[in-house]
Symmetry: C2
Subunit: 236 residues, 2 copies
DNA sequence: CGTTGTCGAGAGCACTGCTCTCGCTTGCCT
DNA sequence: AGGCAAGCGAGAGCAGTGCTCTCGACAACG
């Protein structure tokens, strides 16, 4: 028996899909700000009020798009290193970062939806956190694999150890995503992740305009330096 | 003779100021998305159409707020290291980064205005770039001072030199802000700047919720690691 | 002193998210 | 098989938005 049995259920699922697709199209081409329920309804040949049978509000429709965007980026990053040997963690890291950038450039408005300014008054429902964590999980996974394979460089000895509160948070963060990693390594990976996000944001939102404009070279350099920071071995 | 002579001119300047102030108040409390010309006019006891005598469109009012935000953050960062001896470039760097974060937290919506998702269809007028560059200029200035004082560590010898295109862009970027810095140093500083921006964004927009939630310790660690990357000497 | 340009008010246009009511259809239960 | 409740789309309507245009009043300049 099919998941959706009755004709009504099937129609509902179909229409829900069509609505999100048209909405995604609008967001992709015009940005989330310009997403209009009425325009979506118009495009689908229905009246705007009918749309509320499927999404109780504009924010709920946006939430669906946000989840989809998290999944799209997450999947791109998860598979960004396909075909790269496990023995080359730096290569995997680099490929995943490049995949994130490529996806972000190809879906700039959807990327802005998840890593840009949150819609005011809107706070991410619980439902999104699992999808949101796919990218950091994928990045931390590379570090974890490198550690397990004995390929993770020890951070250079520092005068001071990690701040105790930070160590606790690092451990908590790693445990939240079910990746067993020493806090120092987790913290460094998160530093790199935030750098990645900042850099992509700069490129996408025009901060680099006029300087590192085709940002390819800058991106490569930054990813390499972050790989250094994380402790991934410089292969070759 | 005063800059604004006639009563009309003075009244105009005064009202322009009042409008931007009320608009800033709205943005600060509700976010740029919720800035409403009609609400501003209402609050000022005038009718909405009258507002168009002062700002030709909502975007122009937003542009003014964006410039003000750039200046506010810029000034905070420029003076964030006041009182810290020039002989301590790492201390100055750390203080400036902390000042940026403090300002961002205190003015989250204004920060989002400049480093968050740009308003769709809106592109920063030429007039903004000077204001926008104050933060990177301030950060690069610390690096430049360290270099001049012979306090900037040489980047560890790398197998490959900087990509030629990247070196050219780095040189161009440094020259754009009139700071004479070797490309490699400039690039590293910009990497650190983008990390700073990404990290502040994560904290502000809730990406860290549930892990590095009071982000103070994480922030300190990240700033320190970026200071390492830039080559600022670990004092003490 | 008169002309010109600026100003605020008001009406109005096209659009938005959202609500409510009204019939029609579908599907489940008896 | 029949009936009732739930789901559905259409339409009208509300309160709000950015923005335009016109009109009468006032200030500034020649």
């Amino acid at each position: 028996m099919n998941a959706s049995r009755t004709a009504r259920d099937r129609a509902r699922a179909e229409l829900t899909r069509e609505i999100t697709e048209e909405a995604r199209r609008q967001v992709a081409s015009e940005g989330a700000q310009r997403l209009s329920l009425r325009a979506v309804a118009r495009e689908l040949g229905m009246v705007s009020s009918a749309l509320y049978r499927y999404f109780p509000s504009r924010d709920d429709l946006l939430t669906q798009l946000i989840i989809d965007a998290y999944d799209g980026l997450g999947e791109a990053v998860e598979h960004g290193d396909d075909g790269i040997p496990a023995a080359d963690p730096r290569g995997r890291w680099t490929a995943k970062c490049a995949a994130a950038r490529t996806w972000a450039i190809a879906h700039r408005h959807e990327y802005a939806l998840i890593y840009g300014t949150p819609v005011p008054g809107y706070q991410a429902p619980e439902a999104t956190v699992g999808h949101a964590s796919r990218v950091p999980v994928a990045l931390l996974g590379v570090v974890k694999d490198a550690l397990d394979a004995g390929l993770l460089a020890e951070p250079p000895a520092r005068r001071h150890a990690l701040d105790p509160e930070l160590a606790a948070q690092g451990e908590l963060a790693a445990s939240l995503v079910a990746i067993d990693l020493p806090p120092a390594a987790a913290v460094r990976a998160v530093i790199a992740w935030s750098q990645l996000s900042g850099m992509i944001g700069f490129e996408l939102f025009g901060t680099f305009a006029g300087s590192f404009d085709p940002a390819d070279a800058f991106f490569s350099e930054a990813v390499a330096r972050m790989a250094d920071l994380v402790g991934l071995p410089d292969g070759g």
